[in-house]
């Protein structure tokens, strides 16, 4: 039965199915994941300079090798401040990224849905 179908028709059909399934996967999975992959680099870049995690890990290390009592007291205070600022900036970035994601969802990801929906809404 299959042998009766010309080769190019089989090939075009297979390719079309591949194209469509690929598009669905791209739209549903790769696009949103790709967005987050790109978005998260902002946090990574910030962390590379601010080192919130490294500071938190060395919370009780005195600053600049100052092992005096004052140094030991001041160290954690400054470090806590830095960690807090870091967390806030990370959160701000995250919020911006979420807003960006929502915009992406609304204007790109759901574009086909809006197309279909708007097609059936009669203009006033």
């Amino acid at each position: 039965m299959l042998n009766a179908i010309p080769f190019y028709i089989t090939k075009i059909s297979v390719k079309s199915v591949q194209w469509l399934t690929g598009l669905v996967y791209f739209w549903l999975v790769r696009l949103p994941l790709g967005y987050w992959k790109k978005a998260i680099t902002a946090n990574v870049f910030f962390e590379g300079g601010w080192a919130t995690y490294v500071t938190a890990r060395n919370l009780f290390e005195p600053l600049y090798q100052d092992y005096t009592v004052m140094g030991r007291v001041l160290g954690p205070i400054f470090r806590i401040g830095r960690v807090l600022i870091g967390i806030v900036i990370h959160l701000i970035l995250l919020i911006l990224e979420i807003i960006g994601f929502l915009l992406f969802l609304g204007f790109v990801w759901l574009a086909p849905v809006w197309f279909v929906v708007n097609l059936f809404i009669w203009n006033q």
Binding site: F7, T10, K11, Q18, W19, G22, L23, F26, W27, R30, L31, G49, A51, V54, T55, N58, E61, L63, Y64, Q65, F78, R79, R82, G106, F107, V108, A111, P112, W114, F115, V117, N118, L119, F120, I121, W122, N123, Q124
Partner: protein, 907 residues
């Protein structure tokens, strides 16, 4: 990874001839299951899954055009929809009060009605086209560096859970597939069965491959013509397919890519495979190129667009940004250190440091020592230009890229500018204060590894308190509170560091050796793009190769690759300024060497083989009556030069034996002219002046430099010359021992500890040992060959056998015959004529009787032809001078001198 240990079985299907299909692409071959050509490795079947066939060029072109039209159309449509729909949307939103964003606004935005549906459709369409272009159509080859491939050749191979068949075409670059398609189409259009030539031609169409040929100075069209000349082209079969022959090439390219850690099979891999075929060897030989050269040139492109290439080519003195605080706020500010140092990690962070070539072993040792808890200081010992600084730069790059053990992460590698430390303080006290401040900062900050180049220079500095810097540093270094990488030369280490036991003990040493030719080429492949960009020139591969080869031969006081880089820099200036061109070829490099060494460019560039073959003929023109000596000398030099690998010896070492005036010096001069291009390239040393052991100093110089070494200085200044050691037997045996070393190693250390290289010299010792015997033999009319053993015995009595063995040949000169003297006289008269003609406009001619008479009185058995010149001056020149003064001869006249004219000169 070693593929040699893995057995590879090849299976080529006979039915489909390796293509995997019969009649049409979808009809898989029943015999082989559609795989066609298979290589079986450790039970895994590797095959080329991508089925290809030739397509008429018109169809392929049409398909390409159609898909381009569809793609551009979709983009245009998407954009149009978005704009039109967007305008409609804006229109409908205008009805909203003041366009304030609220829930109603949002509702109106997304549910505006059918007229705005175009806007969403347009957006959707554009993303779909993007998907089609960037995802669906983009070929994403499976990287060969992935585990799926790497385990095939891994030592710890386990069959369990591994695939039984792998399609290697999944790892081919899109360009490789295009090359294959082009090759098949080409065969189709010519109605020929596809062969290597079609593939080569298709490869040439690839821009990267084309560039490789350009860099190698190979004219592509000429190359293809020559390659195709002997190729057999068969008539095309019904289906032109990717068959077993092509697949074999592809598999070779695959293994090549796997072995060289390339992620995909690229057209250049295919090119390397094709070029390496035996068939191409004679053609490559014509261009004096090897298949390996293509590999090296391909490296050049790799480094072309690096950030460091752009930065260094601009010759900028910009400093990279320096962060006072480190990430964890644990380090201390290092003000004094920053003032007198360069932070290499700062440079590495912005990508301004060059990559390191072939120092993996040394780098492993370096990081291992730096991790230790004690004695964790390193001393890099090597000559200037051996790459000690490059090691430090390499470490900085690794630190920044986190490619170092955890203990070294986040560290700063700082290069101390020792020269700047002492500036402004005459007595050394300021220097000491600065060093102390720096050390205090280092101890406190803990995150700095300090690199002190030429650390031995520190020992030369003493402060007013008479305590030198090293005495101050040694205890600090030994406590491991500071991590130091020092660099020094072997001489500096021996003289200044080793004697200071406590200081030397704090270091572990790593010797940095000179790079070999192959790795020097790699360094050049990094350096050349920088030079090209900075000077806006193109440097050909042969220029680079020649710079390395010739600098190895002619520049002995510097190391590779630095000396080759210096030569190329000069060649660039020469090409640009003198010739006004932007292409630096082999010729410019040769000209630089000619200028540096004083040897004519024709000599340097000439094929040495040709020169060696003509050696005998050239010398024989100048030396009369010594055919055997000439023959032996030429043969010995030939022997020496052809013996590859023994380059650590002088070019040749001879001993010339024979009575005075038989042509020993003349042969030496002729040799200097033929081999080094000038008779002046000869240093003559009278060895009878070195008859006592104390004379050795005059030969190699004294340690303070007051007495210059007669031998060492002349060879240092003129390393490409002939050294004639006259009356060698009269020197003191201790002087002979000195030469024993020169003859053997081709080098000697002079009084001041500098190594003088003799590998570009010819050494000739002359001796009168056995002269009496030769003369007696001559008087008795016996052939010299018969007394040779006796002469050798006499030599053995004089010199030790191990000494005589060092000579490449001991050549015994004949005594001259009357005929020889006549020939020599003729040569002398010829030279006299040249002088006379230019200065006085007259020529001289000797009658046969006159020539006979001249030869008779100009020669004596005891002094040979030594007095011939004087006799010609007395008998011929004087007669002419008197005639000229008396205005006897007019310009243009020929003076004929007869025997009695000369006899009358006696009176």
């Amino acid at each position: 990874m070693e593929s040699a240990q893995v057995e590879i079985n090849q299976i080529n299907c006979d039915t489909c001839r390796g293509s995997g299909w019969v009649n049409s692409l979808d009809n898989a071959c029943q015999q082989c299951g559609g795989k066609g050509y298979v290589q079986e490795v450790r039970g895994i079947k590797l095959y080329w899954g991508e089925k290809m066939r030739a397509v008429p060029p018109l169809i392929r072109k049409s398909i390409r055009r159609l898909s381009a039209i569809i793609e551009i159309g979709s983009w245009a449509l998407g954009l149009l929809f978005t704009i039109v729909g967007g305008l409609n949307l804006y229109d409908s939103l205008k009805a909203h009060q003041n366009l304030k964003p609220n829930l109603h606004f949002l509702f109106d935005l997304f549910f505006a009605g059918w007229a705005t549906a175009f806007f969403w459709l347009g957006l959707f369409l554009m993303v779909v086209v993007l998907y089609h272009r960037a995802v669906f159509m983009k070929r994403k080859p499976i990287s060969l560096l992935e585990k799926d491939y790497q385990y095939i050749l891994a030592d710890q191979f386990k069959q369990k859970n591994k695939p039984i068949a792998i399609d290697i075409s999944q790892s081919a670059d899109l360009k490789t597939l295009q090359v294959l398609a082009n090759a098949l189409d080409l065969a189709y259009s010519k109605n020929q069965a596809p062969n290597t030539m079609h593939l080569l031609y298709a490869l040439m169409m690839d821009s990267q491959v084309h560039q490789l040929f350009q860099k190698l100075e190979i004219p592509v069209n000429q190359f293809i013509k020559q390659a195709g000349r002997d190729m057999v082209f068969n008539q095309a079969t019904k289906n032109i397919a990717l068959d077993g022959t092509y697949k074999n090439y592809l598999f070779q390219a695959f293994w090549e890519a796997v072995k060289t850690d390339e992620p995909t099979i690229k057209p250049k891999n295919l090119l390397f495979v094709i070029i390496s075929q035996d068939f191409f060897r004679p053609i490559l030989n014509k261009y004096t190129i090897q298949a390996e050269d293509f590999h090296n040139v391909s490296l050049w492109n790799k480094y072309k667009n690096l950030k460091v290439t752009n930065f260094l080519s601009k010759k900028s003195y910009k400093k990279p940004p320096h962060h006072i605080m480190n990430r964890s706020w644990s380090a201390v500010q290092t003000k004094t250190l920053d003032q007198f140092s360069t932070d290499l990690t700062d440079y590495a962070r912005v990508g301004w440091l060059l990559p390191l070539v072939n120092r993996d072993k040394e780098m492993r040792m370096l990081t291992r020592v730096l991790q230790r808890s004690s004695k964790n200081n390193i001393l890099l010992i090597g000559q200037e230009g051996s790459g000690r600084d490059a090691m430090a730069r390499g470490l900085a790059r690794r630190i920044v890229r986190n490619k170092v053990p955890s203990l070294l992460r986040d560290k700063r590698l700082v290069k101390l500018n020792v020269g700047a430390l002492g500036v402004g303080g005459g007595d050394g006290s300021l220097l000491k204060a600065r060093v102390e401040a720096i050390m205090a900062e280092l101890i406190k900050t803990k995150n700095v590894i300090i690199y002190i180049p030429d650390i031995h220079n520190l020992s030369k500095v003493k402060s007013v308190t008479s305590m030198d810097i090293i005495s101050f540093l040694a205890p600090l270094f030994s406590k491991s509170v500071i991590q130091v990488i020092g660099s020094t030369t072997l001489k500096g280490y021996r003289r200044h560091i080793e004697p200071r036991g406590e200081f030397a003990q704090t270091f572990d040493t790593i010797k940095i050796q000179e790079l070999d030719k192959e790795n020097s080429l790699k360094v050049l492949s990094i350096q050349i793009p920088i030079m090209e960009k900075a000077n806006r020139v193109t440097i050909t591969y042969s220029a680079a190769e020649e710079a390395i080869d010739k600098s190895r031969q002619f520049i002995t006081n510097k190391l590779l690759p630095q000396k080759a880089i210096d030569v190329l820099a000069e060649a660039i200036v020469r090409a640009k300024n003198t010739k006004g061109k932007s292409l630096v070829t082999k010729n410019e490099v040769l000209e630089v060497f000619s200028e540096k060494t004083g040897i004519p460019v024709t000599k340097i560039g000439r094929d040495e083989a040709e020169e060696l073959l003509n050696l005998e003929r050239e010398i024989a023109k100048k030396v009369i009556g010594q055919p055997q000596a000439v023959k032996n000398t030429a043969a010995a030099i030939r022997r020496m030069r052809v013996r590859i690998g023994e380059s650590e010896r002088p070019i040749a070492v001879f001993m010339f034996l024979g009575p005075t005036g038989v042509g020993k010096t003349e042969l030496s001069k002729a040799l200097a002219q033929v081999y080094f291009g000038s008779r002046d390239r000869m240093t003559r040393i009278d060895m009878s002046e070195f008859a006592t052991p104390y004379d050795l100093e005059r030969l190699i110089g004294d340690s303070l430099g007051n007495v210059k070494g007669q031998l060492t200085e002349s060879v240092r200044i003129n390393p490409f010359s002939l050294v004639l050691l006259d009356e060698f037997e009269k020197a003191h045996p201790r002087v002979w021992d000195l030469f024993l070393q020169i003859f053997d190693d081709g080098r000697i250390t002079d009084g001041q500890g500098r190594v003088v290289n003799f590998t570009n010299t010819i050494l000739i010792a002359t001796s009168n040992v056995g002269s009496r015997l030769i003369l007696t033999t001559l008087e008795q009319g016996i052939s010299i060959d018969k007394v040779k053993p006796q002469i050798k015995t006499e030599l053995m009595k004089k010199f030790r056998p191990e000494f005589l063995n060092r000579f490449d040949d001991i050549i015994i000169f004949n005594a001259l015959t009357h005929e020889n003297i006549k020939q020599i006289a003729l040569i002398e008269i010829k030279q006299l004529n040249q002088r006379l003609e230019t200065e006085q406009g007259v020529t001289v001619k000797l009658t046969d009787q006159a020539l006979d008479y001249l030869a008779k009185i100009g020669y004596s058995p005891e002094y040979g032809a030594r007095f011939l010149k004087r006799t010609i001056r007395d008998k011929v020149e004087d007669a002419i001078v008197v005639g000229i003064l008396k205005q006897k001869y007019q310009r243009g006249s020929e003076i004929v001198i007869d025997k009695h004219d000369m006899e009358s000169q006696n009176r």
